[in-house]
Symmetry: C2
Subunit: 525 residues, 2 copies
């Protein structure tokens, strides 16, 4: 059952008067559930509760937080197919995708549980005293990461599980010791409510303080704005559009006490196709990229929207081939009619630009909200001159840019905005031959891929999902992988503190057995 | 000889028309040298040169950067007493302090040289491929820290060596692989020019690219504003006032591409004196704190400006004792007449507030620009009600707040703005008894000290010099200690990149022998 209420800590609340519904894009009709947007008082209550929960939660051990995260994963699985059904009804995505994304979400929760149970993530550092140092004695100084405070997480439209209510932002913030308030995405508030109920259940079963988690409904930007402006909120996690992310970043920067916003925003994920790739594996790459462009109906942040090559017959053939393979794939329903119409609008805007050639476009589907895949092609000089073409087209769309030579290709790369990923297709020798080009690409992205597709973001310590602005609002952090936890912590130092009163992480005998920097040497002893 | 010119990479330049001089506060007269503020074209040239230097410098090995940093330290020492003389003439600080601060600066440079020569600071992380993983193969992903790009460093007024031209910000940014443009502090542009010449000499002798370092003169905020707004600048380091730091933060946040600003700003460094400290060691702490309040003529960012206790005869005695000891110390010259008059103005503003009692004030000195030390006392309730009293008084001044009980003390701590440090004087048992109070203090500061003074910031890996806003603009980083390098880097991931073309830090056989996270295990192999 979906109540449509806000979950403020352990209490369901429905005091507002703004009612909204989610939409099933496959059936092209509103879902039956009614949601009540959180009102101002409810928002304040959620923050006050999070602040009071923080006083306790920040002192909880890695074991306690690990047990909580593990149980969230279990409780989500416990919701079974009913949860997947709601996900599909609110996103139009197929059951298989829902299942896969749930798996990813559960794995993320478990990875953060592992991380905090092991404990070394606090980056403990100990410099012991030298009382007889001259001219002044050296004090004993010990440092470790501590949580920032209550975090607001904005659910994303395109990953109702993995980047939403119990997604990577929430899992990493809870792991860090920060209470979380989720602003549910208006497109999938039912999914959010169900997942939130799993989190609350897990919180109660593992003895977490009331307010460690809240889930607030919202139909527009107001709830988010009030949350980000609230003095009790200490950091923000967001996945979505540049416009939305930048608005939150601006709001947070203008506060009396500015707070960090980690916004993972748009990206067109440039792919550079070097000559050997077109000679030796053109067919293979056309197939791979047709799949990558269309994955998740093109609604992935690592969707390859820009393919750059040097003009040649081979590049023309590759383009044609990619176009044919892309439109031969099944078309899927987009997340929402608004997203679908925005996709159509941008496609048509692109087509109308001077010098833009349509390589292939799927004919319009009779079903509503289904995206027609499209590949267009443009000359390097045209691309450089026309900023309209530099926008992200959110959907199964890609643009091939045919450059007259390497130097034009480098010019384009240097002028690109920051990107999540950059990909190079070619052979080892070309990495050396085109080193200037590849250096330029490296400078614009967070992750560089050799002979692969940018879609598919592995959850592991080495992942970097973020990049120079506007790929993300702070290139110094990743949104995916266990190191995403560092967004929510600050280093804290104890000077000459009595050993037995220090947190266990910093005590002399290292009771947790974690890896620590002791007098500048990494050790577990 | 001081030329008064800007140092743009290897070239001296003096194209502007704004001339200014520095001031000797001890002699109460302008120094003879004339400086030419950098004009708009010179600023653009410095940034363009830094950008072109970055393309090379970012690829330099830890050994190369280490040699550069070591030689900077040598070249600074090579300048000998002549440099110390200029420092004293521009700051009014005594020779001993100049010498001590030079030592600290040299040690910082060497510490960063050690760090990059050893190499593990890049936090290399490797997750190897699992080609036969189902349902999809796991790619090979490797991550390490890479430099952000050109950094602007603002020289501070109060540390002409250690937090200025070749100070911690510059040393850490150069160590990270970022070219640096220093905006010389208008109060000590001669010192800056001499130190800059040492850096340029070292850069040339170690084969660094032209533009890896520039030093620009400025008489007011314009040069800094233009630098922070320039699209070629990727990060900013600042030490100074809240007003100045916040203005730069706002400017950087409003850019089309926002950039990180690390501003270390004001702090009043609260000290909580618990009953046992007043009973057992009152005399000792009065002596220690008289020294700490007056250190560097009270012009340290960790100056203890707020001393909190619970009202008692012992607290009254301690106050009186502290006041007597403080005014029995020698008074020193402040850095500049403006700083001195602002100090006097704030002192008098504080004295005029209702309920503020002067415990002791040094009578005015006949010499100009000499600061009269002062201790005032106020009741907890008065402090809470009057925000005027919450300001930092930059100088040898401290305020004792006498709270009616622990609960009032906790209220005050909870309402404090973010601070660099918090100090607790007492015994081990009291840490437990007053745990709520100490938890509250921890939540407001970056470093907590037991039975010590906040002045004296050790340069070591465990140091945290920063804290919740407005102690710093980003509590997730430290300005002092080797971990200050992390302000200037971003993680970067390679996916399926050929081993021999990876940076050495990420190659399979670990040619640098650094500590790395390999498949989630820390190892040097």
């Amino acid at each position: 059952m979906i109540t449509g209420k806000n979950q403020i800590g352990n209490t369901l609340s429905a005091e507002g008067n703004k009612v909204y519904r989610t939409f099933n894009p496959v059936d092209n009709q509103e879902n039956s559930w009614e949601f009540l947007e959180a009102n101002s008082e409810e928002i304040n209550r959620a923050v006050a509760l999070a602040l009071s929960a923080f006083e306790q939660y920040r002192t909880f051990s890695g074991k306690q937080k690990g047990a909580f995260l593990r149980l969230i994963a279990e409780e989500i699985l416990e919701l079974g197919d009913a949860l997947l059904d709601i996900y599909c009804q609110e996103s139009g995505l197929p059951q298989g995708r829902a299942q896969g994304e749930r798996g990813r979400t559960v794995n993320q929760l478990l990875a953060f549980a592992d991380l905090v149970e092991e404990g070394s993530w606090v980056e403990a550092s100990i410099d012991t005293a030298i009382p007889d140092r001259s001219p002044v004695p050296k004090p004993d100084i010990r440092k470790m990461n501590i949580p920032l405070g209550p975090v607001v997480v904005f659910g994303s439209s395109n990953f109702p599980f993995a980047f939403s209510t119990a997604g990577g932002d929430t899992a990493s913030a809870l792991a860090a010791g920060c209470p979380v308030i989720v602003k549910a995405h208006p497109m999938h508030s039912g999914t959010s409510e169900k997942v939130a109920s799993a989190i609350i259940k897990a919180a109660n079963k593992t003895g977490m303080p009331d307010g460690v988690f809240s889930n607030l409904n919202s139909s527009g930007p107001e709830v988010g704005k009030q949350l980000v402006s609230h003095p009790g909120i200490k950091a923000v996690g967001f996945t979505g559009s540049i416009k939305g992310g930048r608005a939150l970043f601006d709001l947070a920067s203008e506060r009396e006490e500015p707070i960090p916003v980690f916004a993972e925003m748009g990206s067109i994920n440039p792919v550079v196709v070097l000559p050997s790739a077109l000679k030796d594996r053109s067919e293979y790459w056309a197939t791979q990229y047709a799949g990558s462009v269309n994955l998740g109906v093109g609604q992935f942040c690592t969707n390859p929207g820009l393919i750059l090559g040097i003009e040649s017959i081979e590049l023309d053939e590759f383009s044609k081939n990619l176009g044919e393979k892309l439109i031969s794939q099944n078309s899927g329903s987009m997340l929402h009619p608004n997203i679908h119409s925005f996709y159509d609008q941008l496609k048509s805007e692109f087509s109308k630009q001077n010098g833009v050639e349509t390589v292939a476009e799927q004919s319009a589907n009779s079903k509503p909200n289904v995206a027609s895949q499209m590949v267009v092609k443009v000359k390097g000089s045209t691309f450089i001159e026309n900023p309209t073409l530099h926008q992200e087209v959110f959907g199964p769309f890609s643009m091939i840019v045919s450059c007259k030579d390497e130097s034009e290709l480098i010019t384009i790369i240097k002028e690109l905005e920051g990107q999540l990923t950059g990909t190079v297709l070619g052979n080892d020798d070309e990495i050396k031959t085109y080193s200037v080009l590849i250096d330029a690409l490296q400078n614009r992205v967070g992750r560089i891929i050799f002979n692969g597709v940018p879609t598919g973001v592995e959850v592991c310590p080495s992942m970097m999902h973020g990049g120079p602005y506007p790929a993300s609002s702070d290139s110094r952090y990743t949104a995916v992988g266990t190191h995403a936890i560092f967004r929510w912590v600050r280093p804290f130092a104890f000077q000459d503190w009595p050993d037995e009163l220090l947190p266990e992480e910093l005590q002399n005998d290292n009771p947790l057995g974690i890896s620590r920097l002791v007098n500048n040497t990494l050790t577990r002893s």
